[in-house]
């Protein structure tokens, strides 16, 4: 082994590259960048000015933050539905004026004054909503105009009456508490803002109106087609934004008690910056309350930090503008490139060295030597079948297999000419087996382990969830690619999940990684528990309980091995390799009538790919730089079926030399002297007469002693 290969082996053993891709594929990664912004802002200002985060300073900041949160929440709700509300600053100022005018000047009860201010906000929102939602005017220009109009009204009022409204003629304990009070040092406006934010979170994530908003923002047309009242939803977001901006204005009134021309000026930019900085998309449909909070907090810290720096007039606005620009740029770039980056870094090849490949040359004397035994197989359903995976027969000789359309197909025995869709399960049905009572169990890729009850054909989900692995970044409690199953004598169902990192349609990409991404899971019907038995296996595929029921055999496809896992006896809980150097990639395993086991090899090893497995850097560069259809994949165009003994001796080998009937074999099932052959991309099921086989052998008989 060369030095570079030793290096490659250790480097890929020690550095878990695959984690980066897994992190990037998480939905919370959208919050990571805003969170990083927040941390940077805090670190920066704490470094520049150690006094900045002194407790009393924080209290003042939290009071203002409450107002910013309100306005940002409104902005985010509008943005989620695909709009923008620039009028928030004016609404804020108007609400401030109304609150002070009604309370300070007119002496109304504070509750009534606040209600009127909120109603005024709602009215401005409704105006925007009607113009943008119902009359379909452009949100940007419309709310810009509202901004100017409401600002003009506010300015007129301020010039006319501001000297009157700033002098309070009444007192209110409630109002004093809102303006000065705190609970455990946390100012009231901040507490109220957090409560409203929590309500907003529930609204957006759990309730119908919130889903409508997100749907409209995600795709207006689709939302309309789905029957969502798009116009009303859009209009509603502006009303909400108006009310929230007004609420911010009320707290501003409580904090400053003044009405000046500067109230809320530029607040729309602050709120917009907060929203975008928090990671809420300008295009709509993508965002959350948490993002709004993150953004509001960051912007408030930046704003106050800039003030504390004592920068020259205007420099603060300039800095905020630059931050907005950066945030928008990152938002756009991130949205555009996240999937590109993800696809580049997700596939993360590891080092793997296979043992020498045994010869398959005809006449070489190798157990795998080429022959043409499958030349004359009888064909079932030629051209009618799409992807016959794991053909299996019941005691009435009916033939069952899955299809990639999510159906389980039944061909009626004994001649297998007529067929029907037995059930539609969905997903992609893969490995199947009959249990003691004749129910059909099936691993469904993308879904889990299912049971089809014998006569009623009722589909029952047995399990789709297993225990979550500690520190696993991919949520491995959900099943992605359950592959094949078998049932132990005690009823426990052992099934393989080929990979937890890829979906069924990209199962071959898992082969490029050559990492143990799969696992064996056990479902115990007695207590309905699901537990991962063997983790980190290289694409565990076929699985078969031994004739004596004391161990299971499973195939590791990319490992090119057959393994045996002991369920009972002295070796209980241990795994041993039965065949370490298959010439191809093993798939489904099933019992044979003579006490041995059949396994289908889905494809054959090639020297090129074997070499590539020892060069993870090469495979990574290939994935990053070359289009997917040019990638070097494991060879899947020629396969075979072999028979092996319990000790791992290969005693038979069936080839289709022409590669016409079964160029790719994924499964084989012996039934009454015949071997039924299927392939996941085959358009037929092959029926091969096994010389000397027991003509009465059935799997049900072998497992459960059932007689036809």
């Amino acid at each position: 082994m060369s030095a570079s290969e030793v290096y490659a082996r250790w480097r890929h053993r020690l550095i878990p590259d695959h984690i980066l891709g897994e992190i990037l594929s998480k939905t919370w990664i959208d919050n990571a960048i805003p969170f990083a912004f927040l941390i940077i802002a805090i670190a920066f200002f704490a470094f520049i000015n150690p006094h900045f985060f002194l407790l009393s300073g924080l209290g003042d900041m939290a009071r203002e933050l409450g107002e910013i949160i309100f306005v940002t929440l409104g902005m985010v709700i509008v943005m989620l539905a695909g709009g923008i509300d620039l009028s928030v600053g004016s609404t804020f100022a108007l609400s401030n004026f109304i609150t002070l005018a009604l309370f300070n000047w007119q002496g109304w009860p504070i509750g009534l004054a606040v209600l009127c201010a909120l109603l005024a906000g709602a009215a401005v929102g409704l105006l925007n909503g009607i113009l943008v939602g119902y009359l379909r005017l452009r949100a940007f220009l419309t709310t810009l105009v509202t901004l100017i109009i409401i600002r003009a009204i506010d300015d007129t009022l301020v010039i006319q009456y501001s000297t009157k409204v700033v002098v309070p003629i009444t007192q209110s304990k409630v109002w004093d508490f809102i303006s000065d009070g705190d609970i455990y040092g946390i100012p009231i406006p901040f507490i109220v803002a957090i409560v409203i934010a929590a309500v907003g979170h529930v609204l957006l994530t759990r309730l119908r109106p919130g889903w409508h908003i997100l749907a409209v923002g995600g795709s207006r047309r689709s939302a309309h087609n789905a029957g969502i009242p798009v116009r009303r939803t859009v209009a509603m977001t502006y009303v909400m934004s108006g009310i929230l901006a007004a609420a911010g204005g009320v707290f501003y009134a409580s904090r400053l008690g003044t009405a000046g021309g500067d109230t809320g000026v530029g607040l729309e930019v602050t709120a917009l910056t907060a929203a975008v900085l928090g990671g809420n998309s300008l295009g709509g449909g993508r965002g959350s309350v948490v993002k709004a909070l993150l953004g509001a907090l960051t912007v408030t810290i930046i704003n106050n930090g800039l003030i504390s720096l004592g920068l020259k007039s205007g420099a603060g606005s300039l800095a905020l503008g630059v931050v907005l620009l950066i945030a928008v740029a990152i938002d756009v770039r991130w949205l555009k490139n996240r999937h590109k980056v993800l696809s580049k870094v997700y596939v993360s090849p590891a080092y793997f060295k296979l043992p020498p490949c045994p010869s398959i040359t005809e006449g070489s004397g190798s157990s795998y030597a080429l022959n043409d035994k499958l030349h004359d197989v009888e064909l079932i359903g030629l051209g009618e079948i799409d992807a016959a995976e794991d053909p299996i027969l019941d005691i009435n000789d009916d033939l069952f297999f899955g299809s990639r359309k999510g159906d389980i197909i039944r061909y009626f025995g004994p001649d297998h000419k007529r067929w029907e869709v037995y059930v539609h399960v969905g997903g992609m049905p893969l490995g199947m087996a009959f249990d003691r009572d004749g129910n059909l169990l099936c691993c469904v890729a993308g879904m889990g382990l299912y049971k089809v009850v014998k006569d009623t054909r009722k589909i029952v989900k047995l399990t789709d969830e297993t225990n979550r692995t500690w520190l696993s970044i991919v949520d491995d409690s959900r099943m992605r690619l359950p592959d094949d199953l078998d049932i132990a004598p005690d009823g426990r169902i052992f099934f393989s999940e080929a990979t937890i990192r890829f979906d069924s349609y990209e199962w071959m990409v898992d082969g490029l990684e050559a990492r143990g991404n799969g696992r064996i899971i056990c479902y115990d019907p007695r207590d309905k528990s699901t537990k991962t038995v063997l983790p980190k296996i290289k694409f565990p595929n076929g699985i078969c309980v031994a004739h004596d029921g004391k161990s299971i055999f499973y195939a590791s496809t990319w490992g090119c091995t057959i393994e045996r896992f002991w369920l009972e006896g002295q070796k209980k809980g241990t795994t041993e390799t039965i065949i370490a150097d298959l010439p191809g990639y093993p798939d489904n395993i099933n019992r044979s009538s003579d006490g041995n086991y059949w396994v289908a090899l889905v494809g054959l090893r090639t020297p090129a790919f074997d070499l590539a497995l020892r060069k993870p850097g090469f495979r990574r560069r290939m994935v990053q730089r070359v289009a997917q259809d040019e990638w070097l994949f494991p060879q899947m165009n020629a396969g075979t079926v072999i028979k092996f003994t319990e000790s791992g001796q290969v005693i038979d080998c069936l080839w289709d030399k022409r590669g016409v009937n079964h160029p790719m074999l994924t499964s084989c099932n012996e039934h009454k002297g015949y071997l039924y052959l299927g392939g996941i991309v085959n358009n037929r099921v092959g029926k091969y007469k096994v010389p000397g086989a027991d003509p009465n052998f059935t799997n049900q008989g072998s497992y459960w002693g059932a007689k036809p």
């Binding site: 006094h51 900045f52 002194l54 407790l55 009393s56 300073g57 209290g59 003042d60 900041m61 203002e64 300015d155 301020v158 010039i159 006319q160 501001s162 000297t163 700033v166 002098v167 303006s179 000065d180 501003y252 904090r255 400053l256 008690g257 003044t258 009405a259 000046g260 021309g261 500067d262 109230t263 000026v265 704003n303 106050n304 003030i307 504390s308 004592g310 920068l311 020259k312 007039s313 205007g314 603060g316 606005s317």
Partner: protein, 342 residues
């Protein structure tokens, strides 16, 4: 050199610096008072939050305080809210957390800083309000007597536009921000003077919020509606630059009597008097205010009384600048204050 030697060398160096500092002080003539003053001021902190650092007065005051701070070894911290009352509240909140000895503020309006002033006094920070006053008194108010400023302007108006001058008495008002403490008092004075001079007649009133662009537009409109307008008692030079430009644009330079008021900086006051843009200028002398401010701050720093116990007022003396009265000493420059103090 061993570690011990390093430590020794460091200690020696420190000791020498210490001696040098003491020596510097020791070198200065001390009649007892000087030493007490120097001791009281050294290491103190003065926080300063004007309306904005973007105009001449605020810069002049800062320069005056900085000069004094440099001399006596106290620290001046400036936060700039840039015309936003809300930002001002945050700025003061942050500064108060650092417990400065004296807080110098210029309130936007009577209300927004009221609570903060109380908070400052409660925590023992002395408060000086400069040129504008909140409803809450601090330890000192240093600045203009806004009633007098407006009254003086109205007196000038009467002289230029009243019956005695043989004019029609038509004047237009362009106030700044109505809630501004100076403006509130000034409006009062104007109303009182209008009663005193019934021959003056206000033909238009429209606020310009201290914005020269707005003032320009407002003045231009008023001049179109009233081409026979006799005079405008202005509000503040920063705003009335726009008013003056409008008069010039309307071709009425010299025909409309424009009086304004302000800090009396060379480029904002005397230069405009010289070129005829302003007919008269009521200066509250920013440089003098700077000196008053420094005086108040320095005495508060030396004063051991409880914060807020004896509020005092230091009102600026007013200068009327016209082409006739203008001399080299009528105005000031920031460079001059920076170099020589107020």
């Amino acid at each position: 050199m061993s570690l011990k030697k390093y430590v020794l060398a460091g200690a020696t160096a420190l000791a020498m610096v210490g001696v040098a500092i003491t020596a510097a002080h020791a070198d200065h003539f001390d009649d007892g008072q000087w030493g007490m003053t120097a001791k009281a001021l050294k290491g103190k902190t003065v926080a300063y939050v004007p309306i904005s650092m973007g105009f001449d007065l605020a810069q002049g005051w800062a320069a005056a305080m900085q000069k004094s701070a440099d001399k006596w070894g106290y620290k001046l911290v400036i936060n700039d809210p840039n015309w936003s009352a809300s930002a001002g509240v945050q700025a003061i909140g942050q500064l108060l957390a650092q417990k400065p000895d004296v807080l110098v503020i210029q309130p936007f309006d009577p209300q927004s800083y009221a609570k903060l002033i109380k908070k400052a006094l409660d925590q023992g920070t002395k408060v000086v309000q400069i040129n504008m006053e909140s409803v809450t008194h601090g330890d000192a108010y240093v600045g203009s007597d806004w009633y007098d400023v407006a009254a003086t302007e109205m007196d000038l108006m009467e002289k230029a536009c009243g019956k005695a001058a043989g004019k029609n008495g038509k004047i237009a008002l362009i106030p700044g921000i109505p809630t501004n403490p100076g403006q509130m008092v000034g409006t009062q004075a104007i109303n009182d003077k209008l009663k005193q001079y019934p021959d003056l007649q206000v033909v238009a009133t429209q606020a310009a919020e201290y914005d020269p662009t707005k003032a320009h537009d407002v003045a231009l409109t008023i001049l179109k509606q009233h081409p026979d307008l006799c005079g405008i008692p202005g509000t503040w030079d920063g705003q009335d630059v726009g008013t003056a430009a409008a008069i010039k644009e309307a071709g009425l330079l010299g025909k409309v009597y424009l009086v304004t008021s302000g800090g009396g900086r060379q480029a904002a006051a005397c230069d405009y008097i010289a070129n005829g843009s302003y007919s008269a200028y009521v200066s509250y002398d920013g440089k003098g205010q700077g000196r008053d401010l420094v005086g108040s701050v320095v005495s508060l720093l030396q004063d051991s009384e409880k914060a807020g116990s004896h509020p005092v007022g230091v009102y600026s003396s007013l200068k009327i600048i016209t082409k006739e009265t203008m001399s080299t000493g009528s105005c000031w420059t920031i460079e001059d204050i920076k170099a020589n103090g107020a």
